[in-house]
Structure formats: C-alpha cells, structure tokens
Symmetry: C2
Subunit: 187 residues, 2 copies
C-alpha cells in the first residue's frame, strides 16, 4: 500500500508497543502518544487499528524473506552449509527485527480475514525455502525423519528462541544456529 518514511517509522513504533502490551491492550491513544501525535491524527496514516497490525507483520515478513533468499544465494551447494545458512538467517532476522517478528508470531490471530489471506502468501513463500533446504538435507542423509515433522520441529525450536534468548547476551544468532544444526545432524 503506502510506504512513506513517516509511515515506516510509525510502524516501527507500533511494533514495539504491540510487543510490550499485546495488540489488544495497545490503545490508539497509546500508539499516538508514543508517536508524538494525538489519537485522531493516527487515522490520517492508517485506515484503522487493524491496518497498523498488518503493516507491522508485512514489514517483518518481507525482510525475513529477502534475507533468507540472499543467504541461500551466496551459499555453496553443500546441504549442511545451506541448512546452517537458513538457520542463521532465520535467527538473525528474528533478532534484528525482533518486534515485528514477535508480533507476527503471536498476534497473527488478530488479523482480519483479508489481511491474513494476503500475508499468508508471504509466509508460505518463506516456508517454501525451508522445505527445500530440509529436503536436500534429508536426501543426503544429513538428517532423518519425516520432512513435515522435521521442518515443523526446527521452525518451532527456532521461533521459540524469542521467548528465552537475550539478544544483549554473549551468544550470537550464529552460535544458536551452530547449536541447533549440531543437535539435529547425524554424526
């Protein structure tokens, strides 16, 4: 839709508040205050509260998709390297764009049907990348099991990191990716 720099900045602030308070508890008055304007002025930038949520999630998912694509492109054909690159890319976006992704993961249900339909495609495109990489790893015996279960388990383990990992701590996304890949690959 619209992509003015002002709107981008407002979206960023909204993401932060949505994480802090949750979407339902975040009032348009809180959003406006955080943005330094009055609540009425908010609706000059966004049609309604729903549209703010959709903007936050779209922004985050777009970033994740392009980062993952880039990571895979500059990566040799070795399935282990590609698996590792995907895991690292996933964790890096997750923490670089932490607010947007936490919202995407935990406030998805709050989207109305129209936004959800639109954003589902983005999400599917991203998961498609994962399935490919996992299929390659399965084909060469790097990991074992059902492709469906394995991909869900891996994404679950990765997504859950936002619940316990401290981005200010000593461990980098790269460290986490190492640990995860080491845990699931046969030795």
């Amino acid at each position: 839709m619209n992509a003015s720099p002002r709107r981008k900045e407002l979206t960023r602030l909204a993401a932060q508040l949505f994480v802090q308070e949750g979407f339902d508890r975040t009032t348009v008055r809180m959003l406006a205050q955080e943005m330094g304007i009055k609540s009425g002025s908010l609706f000059h930038h966004f049609k309604d509260k729903q549209e703010i949520l959709a903007a936050v999630i779209e922004e985050g998912t777009q970033n994740a998709l392009s980062i993952a694509k880039a990571a895979l492109k500059q990566c040799e054909d070795d399935p282990e390297a590609r698996l590792h690159a995907m895991a690292r890319a996933h964790l890096e976006t997750l923490f670089a764009d932490r607010n947007a992704h936490v919202v995407a993961l935990f406030e998805w249900r709050r989207l109305d049907a129209a936004s959800r339909a639109h954003l589902s495609h983005l999400r599917d495109a991203y998961e498609e990348l994962w399935v490919e990489v996992i299929d390659e790893a399965l084909a060469v015996g790097l990991i074992h099991g059902d492709r469906f279960f394995v991909s869900r388990f891996i994404l679950g383990a990765l997504n859950w990191t936002v619940r316990w990992h401290d981005p200010a701590g000593p461990r980098t996304p790269d460290d986490l990716a190492d640990e995860l890949v080491a845990m699931i690959t046969a030795r």
Copy 2:
C-alpha cells in the same frame, strides 16, 4: 484456593474461550453466556477476570507436573527411554489438556505479578524434570551440545506443536515423540 466442582467446570469452559478468542478479547459476558449464567454471577465464583486466567493456568500446569512425574517413575534407568517418556508425557498433556496449556503458553503475560510469581514455581519445578533427563542423556552421549540450549530447543519444538498438530489426525503424541527423539539422538 477454592476447588469446588462447579468452579472446575467453569475453569474448563473459560480455558476453551480463552483459546478461541484470546484472553483480552474474551469478555466476562461471553464467559458467563458459555457457562449458562449472567455476567454478574461470574463474580460469585471468581474475584475478578484475572483470577479465572490464573485458575486455568494453574490447573494445566499441575496436571503436566504430576503426569511427567508419573511417567518418569515407571520408567527404567535407560536415558533414551526416559527422554522418550518425557517427550511423550509432554505431548500427551499438551493435547489432553490442550486449552489450558495453550493459555499457559500464550497468555502468560496477562497474569498479574502476584499470580505470575506463584505459578512460576510450578513451572520451574516442571522444567527441572526436563533438565535432569537431558543431563542424563548428555552424560551418556545420547545427545550433544549445551544443556541450556538443548533443553530450550527441545521444549520449543514440543510446545510449538500446538500450532500445527491436529489432535484429530492420525498421528498420536507417541508418534510425535518418536520423531522428535529420533531427530535429536545420535545414531
């Protein structure tokens, strides 16, 4: 606190609504209607809306704790068997008591400070069981890696199943536990 059978039934219904709508979107009027009473009558059973949430989470966590303890008790000393038993017990509670656990996982932030402090102890006691089992598995080389990361990854993968697994489908919690343990154990 109180544990009348009526209250237990109301708690069960509340859990269902909290899952369907989310805690914030569930109004006391919706809760009352689902229970077949008027909204005012609700406050005869619970002090306020917060207390309903706390009751739901407490119920679910208590069950998880006792089921996991039982599963470990009737289990030989083999670390792989114990790991598998924990995973299966986790998944079984997760889907037997699905509503309560989904609420515990995704509405934890809505608890007030007092309830959160009280319930944290229960939660910690449960995670303590996991850490023990994982330490045993690490000690005999069944799995590898940092105990902290490994346990977080495993719990993340397991908890995330509520987002994609269909309990009515053909795959049982036992199947999922098999897959998960197979994925992470060295061969």
